[in-house]
């Protein structure tokens, strides 16, 4: 493994440093994307548009709990399926669906 850019080389570790940073950035992007989608999806499904008060009522709380749990679970399963089909399709980025 060689350095990707001489200017970006840092003193410790070897050539994998920049790769790791890249990976970390990708992962952060993925997670943020996943979170945003989850929030918007569960919001449209669970919380009505008429805001009568500032707090969530019980029905919305339960609904959001279930929505997030289901979303998480589906995300995990889809991730596993994609990974098991090989890194080639996984690299394309279908994590945050």
């Amino acid at each position: 493994m060689s350095f990707l850019g001489g200017a970006r080389s840092s003193a410790p570790a070897g050539g994998l440093n920049s790769d790791k940073i890249e990976m970390a950035i990708t992962e952060l992007d993925t997670i943020t994307d996943f979170f945003n989608r989850m929030v918007s999806s569960c919001h449209t499904k669970c919380v009505g548009t008429r805001y009568t008060e500032g707090d969530l009522n019980k029905a919305e709380m339960v609904c959001i709990d279930r929505c997030v749990a289901k979303y998480n679970e589906v995300q995990k399963k889809v991730g596993e399926k994609i990974q098991s089909r090989g890194a080639a399709s996984a690299g394309g980025g279908g994590f945050g669906l």
Partner: protein, 489 residues
């Protein structure tokens, strides 16, 4: 407005009523002269049959919707309260086991989802659905859960702790979890589920606490069985060490290969594989407790699954009368959401029988209180189900009859005593390892099925233990309601 348009004109030039009004509208005059008539007999038959069928369907569905809305309105106020958004909602566990005879294990859960869930959703009660895919699955699962809980209670297993979790992670200590459980509830859909549940409860609270791997135990038992022995060796099990086999049988392979293939547990530890394994748990902890902690209250949901050709009229009736199911499901959901409970009513224990013998007219109590719940639904079981044990035996026999042949082929091919034929190259027959794994799977399935059937059989009563009497509670109708209270359903 006059509906008779067939009045003969008073004078040709002076028509009255509708004729006058419509005279110049362009409608053909012959139409204005016709008498109103019913359609022909055949049309009448067709229209009346069709309209009555469609009318029944539409009426039933509208009624169902209305009933559902009615119950939802009753509990909606609960969901509109705002609470602490970091608190945990009330959560119930829903158990739905497979109805015996039905290959679709999901029917009980579908009933729950369609008829009871809307009320729970409207009342902001969270639910977790547990399905029993084969008869007996639910029993095993519940027994495992109870044993795990007992282990934690007694101290054998560590209680969940917050040490390894990141800070500020929403962690709840065990006491809080238990409290949350108690506030929730258990929903049981259908009588087979009830039987499996009680059997699981009894098993969990009666058996010992050590961790037994059922697969391991079954594997050891099957090894002892000696089905995979070489047919040439008359007493295969007694062979201790894999010494050179000096039997002059032409088809047997050289002994090192033989011994290699026939590795089995030497019979000396066989007493160890018997159930009386040395327990690693001290007796004081291992004995089942005499007092069972209170369980979350139970909600019965009566459910009957119609299967079979003879029950088709019932299915048709059901299709046109879904409103009764909607009503009973919604009532059950209402009871759960309103959270009013009563103690479980159970038959008196046998010692107290002489006390009541002069009062009761029948020698044996004909009704067992809550244990009888849903008994009438057992009348709908298919009568062919009683042959399940025989079917399993037959399948077993067939399998074991065909096994030596397959074993022969596998061993011969593995040892290289004969070349594989053309068909065998194309579809390679299973090797010995595969055969063993296959056998294990089949045996496991047969045993589980048999056990499950023995729990759910119609002639078998619901399992009961005296300790359960105080630990169980049942959801009942709230006192100030106009609904007819369910007495001991």
């Amino acid at each position: 407005m006059s509906t008779q348009d067939a009045k003969p004109p008073v004078t040709p030039s002076q028509a009255s009523g509708i004729r006058a009004a419509l005279q110049y509208t362009g409608i053909p005059p012959s139409w204005l002269d016709k008498r109103p008539r019913l359609p022909s007999r055949n049309w009448l038959i067709f229209l009346s049959v069709t309209s009555s069928v469609i009318g029944l369907y539409i009426y039933d569905r509208r009624e169902s919707k209305r009933i559902k809305q009615e119950y939802i309105e009753k509990v909606k106020y609960l969901s509109e309260q705002t609470g602490d958004h970091l608190s945990w909602p009330r959560k119930v566990t829903v158990y739905g086991a497979k109805w015996p005879g039905d290959e679709d294990y999901d029917q009980a859960m579908k009933y729950f989802r369609k008829f009871v869930k809307p009320i729970l959703v409207a009342g902001a009660v969270d639910y977790e659905m547990v399905v029993g895919k084969r008869s007996g699955d639910l029993t095993r699962r519940i027994a495992e859960e109870i044993k795990a809980r007992r282990r934690v209670d007694v101290g054998l297993d560590p209680a969940p702790s917050a040490d390894l979790l990141p800070p500020n992670f929403p962690f709840r200590p065990l006491a809080e979890l238990r409290q949350q459980e108690l506030e929730g509830g258990i929903v049981i859909v259908g009588r087979p589920t009830f039987k499996e549940f009680m059997a699981g409860l009894k098993k969990g609270w009666t058996e010992s606490l050590e961790k037994v791997d059922a697969d391991e135990r079954l594997a050891q038992e099957l090894e002892m069985d000696g089905r995979f022995d070489e047919p040439e060796e008359p007493s295969g099990v007694e062979k201790l060490s894999p010494g050179p086999d000096s039997q002059p049988i032409p088809s047997s392979a050289p002994s090192p290969v033989l011994s290699h293939l026939q590795y089995r547990l030497p019979p000396t530890p066989s007493p160890q594989s018997r159930p009386a394994a040395p327990s690693t748990i001290p007796e004081s902890l291992n004995t089942p407790p005499t007092i069972i902690p209170t369980l979350p209250p139970i909600l019965f949901v009566s459910f009957t699954n119609y299967i079979g050709f003879t029950q088709i009229p019932l299915m048709v009736w059901d299709f046109f009368n879904q409103r009764y199911k909607v009503r009973s499901g919604a009532e059950a959901g209402y009871r759960l959401v309103m959270n009013s409970t009563r103690p479980f009513s159970y038959p008196p224990s046998p010692e107290s029988q002489p006390l009541f013998s002069d009062i009761t007219s029948s020698p044996t109590p004909s009704s067992k209180g809550d244990l009888d719940h849903g008994k009438e639904s057992e009348a709908y079981f298919r009568s062919s189900l009683s042959s399940i044990p025989d079917d399993i035996e037959k399948a077993r026999k067939k399998y074991y009859d065909g096994l030596p042949a397959k074993l022969e082929t596998a061993r011969a091919l593995a040892r290289g005593t004969r070349e594989p034929t053309k068909e065998e190259i194309e579809n390679p027959p299973s090797t010995e390892v595969e055969l063993r794994a296959d056998r294990m799977k089949k045996e496991k399935r047969w045993r589980n099925d048999l056990e499950g059937w023995n729990i759910v059989r119609p002639d078998k009563e619901v399992e009961w233990d005296e300790r359960f009497g105080d630990a169980l509670r049942v959801f009942d109708d709230p006192p100030d309601t106009d609904l007819p209270t369910a007495a001991t359903t």
